[in-house]
Subunit: 502 residues, 4 copies
């Protein structure tokens, strides 16, 4: 049986050839998406799946709220992971837990044979962003973690998609393997990289993922390659009042390294990013610190450029050690790649996202949004209708703001497509208390439903169309031609389970 | 009954007048001390007291070792304080615990009436200096506190002096009140300042104290006035990769404040000291830190000069806030004064310290010392005979290395004298793992006995000579004439019980 | 008589309506330009003008070389300005010199009545870039100025265009006023801003300009708004060894301001630019500097954003003063606006630039180019065919590299269009010795001829088509609607004739 | 013939033995000086010499004023040197000019045979300290040099002493060689070091010198050893707006090196000094600077300690280069040693300075002093009677404020003694405009007369007493035992004639 989704895809492919034949360089996708939307609106498999998502949604809305309350940091998402595993098991998935030396990592599987379609789930929180579902800064527990990146929605929404699709596949005898990857520690722990190294993605044909945001849009490539490390300096302790001249301050080295990084900013490409904290700034003011540490991330749209910048960052650390007569240990902690685009998958994902469409705020939600927006910086002019619409498909612009994800590494190994859904009030960016607040409200939950539906119908299209899977594979080969996947994480390194405390 | 000590004092006073009458400006004390030593060597009350100290010493050597093992941080010296209280109670002192809102503060009292002579005890450890009694860096528990300032010896030695003296007073029906002040959190918590504010020193006539060091010497004045504060900056969080331009980094403010402090160093008097740690350097590299904190100490031989420097430090903090569009909260955490000299008390203390004399290392101790000295910075040439001798009495040189102590505040309220005893291997300075190692060895314990004896006989001299107490009072009035005691700790502030974690 | 250029324009306008009528958002211009090029290739007025440019070219090639040798800094281009004035006078222009309080500013005029079309000329050099016309770093005089921005070509090429066009107008009785603006000190002196303030652009209908570069392309808008200032700190001098604590170092303030700027970089939009030198870093190491100065430029694609950044820069300066107990004088030295786009003028300029076309390197020029490119940073991959082609018309991308020019201010007052011509070897950027080298070679001169021809035929089109002038005006009004021209240069400020030394 | 001075010296030596025999550690000198003063007050050779100084004084007061007006920088004191040479020639000295490759260096000689006694003269000014003889900041020419160290008085006063003494020697047939060393560029040019290397001090027995200050006091040793260098960084230029990522900023390296120096301050001995200027901070803000330079002095009371600090300074420079991908050239520019004490010479110099005594201000001078003192920093409490008295002889305290001088190098080669005389209003320190102002007034001139008289009578004592010369030699050998003279100035380096501009 051929699904309507696949049918749309076929027609789109043909149309594309016609249009490109006339030699115009259009922003592909804008047009197609519109066509696709109109064509697939009546598609009955999609309808059935959407209905299943809606039927299952109360459980997963509740799960998203519970995980939001758990707010567990990367590699320590014990309760969150257990909750999702339980729901998936109850829904009939086989679950393998503790994969790839990651206690909270797991894979839930339904079905068998080709194709193997994987949906990614994340559920880790961020330190310091504890926040009530309120429009003003109200930590639930001051200093505690919070879901400032909405991974409570991400993990629950992806599970909802998997469960609904499984019910559809079962009911309709759809062949193939559906997997849900419970991937820990996206926020700096690179859980997926260790899963790749453990071979867990080796047999996967296509990977689907989504992420909370303030709009609905397909992400065809993008994200910034990232390397992170801790720069630990060792000096000589001394009584800071009595004999400071005997001390060699590791904190001085940290301060000078940080300052050196700031001076480098002007001389790296504008779209690169370097940011750091002082993860150990000395034990007591009256002792010249003999250890101090700077924890740094560097990012760039291109891993090659990032490698060049990284070499300079290490020089800055070494220069700081030289300046202060201290020594330096560099521990690479994490690294993730940029996301490889996949035009074949992007086209179908765009069609489906447009088919599903956005949603409108209730009066109460509008009220919440307006109150929350008062806390945003002057000059950010949020578009209040963002949640209701779907962005046109765009090429990734390396100069546009972006972030990083270990989904990047997955995309260098398997044809991958993802999208964002409008879970945050317009104007809100990830990694803020405002985002954490939204992730606990009905706004976040509505966005999660958009995501779950889009994931489920897109996966269904993939199960229905071998050609689509082949096209995805072919585009993957084209986009990665001449390059080899690599990760800056040292070979043999185990998942840094306690990276948040290191 | 008039003690031999007082007799010596009287003769010294007379001699001084004769000598000063001939109009020469001698370094007073050098000569006197030598005379005093020869004169008092046979003094029988001193002999009796010294014997009592030695009899009681096993208990307090053990106590010093136990407290060294406890290694409890300021205001949390529960076990250490309890141990000393128990010993003092068992020796017949009345104990009032939890004084001045300080859970580990206490006063042990014996006798009644005038004069009131107080001996100070301290027992808090330093963070990060856990160390075995070994000549190489061997933490008992990595990162844990350790007695790098030897307060285990200080508190136990002072208690030993009190107990021995009490036995002597009892046996000889000496009138007057002897007190032991269990003063918590000398290392930055200013336990004594809150005791002063609670009026606990109001009726004291003379205060005696000692401190571990690598030589035997009377401290007639000195120490650096100190003010400490936490500079907490508040900025605006933002995703550090996606929208760093929306963030206002509190860590940037900390880095710039630190850098500003470094630039100020050249332009303050050379004998001032400013040192800091980064007590909060941000939560996660991928979030622009909205809070960050610098914890700073500033010191100067003169509180007036310190106040001028402090005003500039606050300006530097404000400048850093202005530069980064952040806001700044300054929380004064601690403050202590320099020590007021007392020539009358110094003369008698010097005589007594010389009478007691130093001690010699055993072959084993020499071996330990030599091994330990290998870890000292090149260029420090330790004098191996330091422990055996007593330094001549010197005027405090404000350009010589010094530290700070809340004994300073006591000395602005009560005639006070102190001395150091050779508990550390020569070349070792306080607040190092080397000092912590020594504080757990027989070298430290031998120095502690020198201290206990000197404290006890000096207190005995005070009980024996009302004139000496009057002279001490008169010199106190002369040295503090025209000034008023003040503390930079805000009025009404409670002891910062958790200052180590703030 | 209606020129072919105007005719093309008319047809383009009609076509544009048709195309836009079908509702597609095309990158306008690409298509039009192609049509225009094919249509106007035979245009005989253009042919006549191009011929006149070529006939006059030897004189102006020689002038470009002479000015390249003069290499005079902004506001001190006495010999360069005089040379161009002489040529223009000899060609029949009336010349008014010393306009707008600028000794080297002048206006050369031919003809009368409307429209008034102005061509801009510049002729100032850059400090420190003295360089022979050689492919390796060979200063003619070490440390002396050089034409690293190719303004020797700019000024001579614009004059060549004016002279040729004047001959054509005279021969063909073309009505209207043609002006050449000799505008000094583009490099930081903002000569044009003072000309605007003096009312010298008030009656101008259209302004044309060009700039040396490594490709041939119309610039429809763009450039970065810029504000520059000197931050002069005043402290207290002191002997740096004897009494540094008495000093308050103005250099410390400069160092801290610079460092503060570096810390700000992360928190401004990526496409903004801030750069500075230490223009006064103290007189002698043994004296604490009582004056020191930082000379800073800030830029942004948007003047509004720039103003926000500028306010923060001033705060950083004030913060540095606060930190160091110094005082700060801020002297705004220059300011220029971004360039307002003009779609009507861009369309015709693109058509004409494509009509004129690029040029090819001789074997010798290729040899020079390859030798020069060896000095370029690894990773810059220059396209060797750039000079031969013309870039398609593009919208200004605010995230692409850009620079600043006081042409921006002109464009906020008069409809303005400009383009670049390929005078530099591909890969070479302005403000380098490589650019200075090219500006003295036949490569630079060939690019200058492309520019002179394009300027002349475009101006001729404007004289021929009142509609084109009206459309330019209308587009200007549309693009500037709701905004008001302003300059950050303080009202009443005179041209900073000695800004290079200030 | 034996002078009274020598007679005093003999008696002092005998007395010293007696006093030291009683075993008291007195501050030697205080007492001796007092005795010496009373004993030598009637000495008739001293009287005669003092009279000759006074007779010759008008010429040299005028010379001091003329040199003050010349205010020539180091190695460029052409007019100042010529003027002094002319006066010395006219007084009967033989003059050798241009010695040791120093155009303004010279030696003026009278007499022959042993002993050879040399008086040092300096005459160089300081940049930026141009100042009228007025009590408020009034540059004669803004930015021009000024005599902020009073070397106009130093050179003229020393010449006055030489001329008067020559007249006395001639009249009294005193044997021996008297030399005046015209030593250029004391302010950073180390003129005397090159003279030493040229062997010009090889046959000298004793060197006498003086320096302007705000009190009258013998300097027995002291001064800080000093090394200075220029740290020149080379980077890669780039357009700072268009392609800053291509640049490697030499200014960044300078900024980071300076910041690194500031961070080192806490961790060197408090009595060390490091100070710097940015001698090249970039050419233009819109070009990433490819060269930038930091000019630094480091000082310490001990050359060995200084060498350790210097190694760290070089590491800081290298660290800054590493951090910024620039390269570093270090050019040692100057170096001078601390001054070796000479107790034998100090005793006689103290006796003579006390014999000559200070002077009192006129009402007008008091008025000037009070007006000038208003410009001094709050907290400096000048003693208005300083000029009238003579300080007691003190041991050099390495923690007291000090400066550096190439007299230090002389003192490592020849027995040397010097003193300061009260030429500056109390509270004024050298290297300020206030010092430059005083150096042009009668206050400065009166101090100069104190100096000239003391120099002349002390030299006369040396000519009169071979024993004194022998004792000086013996003390020199004692003080320098076990050490070797060295200079950090690279071997073979020529005097850096243009060091002020380098």
């Amino acid at each position: 049986m051929q699904s309507a989704g696949a049918w749309v895809y076929t027609r789109l492919s043909r149309k594309m050839k016609i249009l490109t034949g006339i030699g115009l360089k259009l922003r592909t996708g804008c047009l197609f998406a519109a066509l696709a939307a109109s064509l697939s609106a009546q598609s009955s498999p999609h309808k059935e799946i959407v209905k299943l998502v809606e039927q299952n949604s109360p459980t997963y809305i509740q799960a998203s709220k519970t995980i939001w309350e758990y707010a567990e940091l990367g590699y320590h998402e014990e309760k969150s992971s257990t909750l999702l595993q339980r729901h998936l098991k109850e829904a009939g998935f086989g679950v393998e837990a503790g994969v790839a030396d990651e206690p909270t990592g797991f894979i839930a599987t339904y079905g068998k044979g080709r194709p193997v379609v994987a949906i990614l789930g994340e559920f880790d929180a961020l330190p310091g962003l504890s926040q009530a579902a309120a429009p003003d800064r109200s930590p639930v527990k001051a200093g505690a973690p919070g879901h400032g990146c909405g991974h409570n929605l991400l993990g629950a929404g992806a599970a909802l998609a998997a469960v609904a699709l499984k019910q559809y596949m079962e009911a309709n005898h759809v062949a193939g393997t559906l997997r849900y990857y419970g991937t820990p520690a996206e926020e700096g722990g690179d859980g997926k990289v260790y899963m790749i190294r453990a071979g867990l993605f080796r047999d996967v044909d296509v990977v689907l993922h989504w992420h909370p945001a303030s709009s609905n849009a397909v992400m065809n490539g993008g994200a910034l390659a990232l390397t992170s490390a801790k720069f630990l300096f060792h000096g000589v302790a001394a009584h800071a009042a009595f004999a400071p001249e005997r001390g060699r301050s590791a904190l001085d080295a940290v301060m000078l390294m940080g300052t050196g990084i700031e001076f480098m900013r002007e001389h790296i490409p504008s779209n690169a990013r370097v940011h750091y904290i002082v993860s150990n700034g000395g034990a007591a003011p009256n002792v010249v610190p003999d250890t101090a540490e700077l924890f740094l991330y560097a990012r760039s749209p291109s891993l090659a450029t990032l490698d060049g910048i990284w070499a300079r960052i290490e020089k800055i650390g070494q220069g700081a050690a030289l300046m202060t007569e201290t020594t330096l240990d560099i521990k690479i902690l994490g690294s993730s790649n940029n996301i490889v685009a996949n035009d074949a998958l992007a086209t179908i994902a765009q069609a489906n996202l447009e088919e599903i469409g956005g949603y409108r705020y209730t009066a109460e939600e509008k009220h919440f949004a307006q109150a929350l927006q008062k806390s945003l910086p002057a000059g950010s002019v949020p578009d209040s209708e963002l949640a209701a619409s779907v962005e046109p498909l765009r090429k990734f612009d390396p100069n546009q703001p972006s972030a990083s994800t270990d989904v990047g590494d997955v995309s260098w190994n398997v044809p991958t497509i993802g999208f964002v859904a409008a879970t945050f009030v317009p104007g809100v960016v990830a990694h803020t208390w405002q985002a954490a607040a939204c992730a606990g409200t009905s706004i976040g939950q509505k966005g999660m439903l958009v995501a779950a539906k889009t994931l489920a119908v897109t996966a269904a299209d993939l199960f229905a169309s071998p050609q689509l899977v082949r096209d995805a594979k072919q585009d993957f080969l084209r986009q990665t031609a001449g390059t080899t996947y690599k990760s800056e994480i040292p070979a043999g390194q185990k998942p840094p389970i306690d990276y948040g405390k290191m």
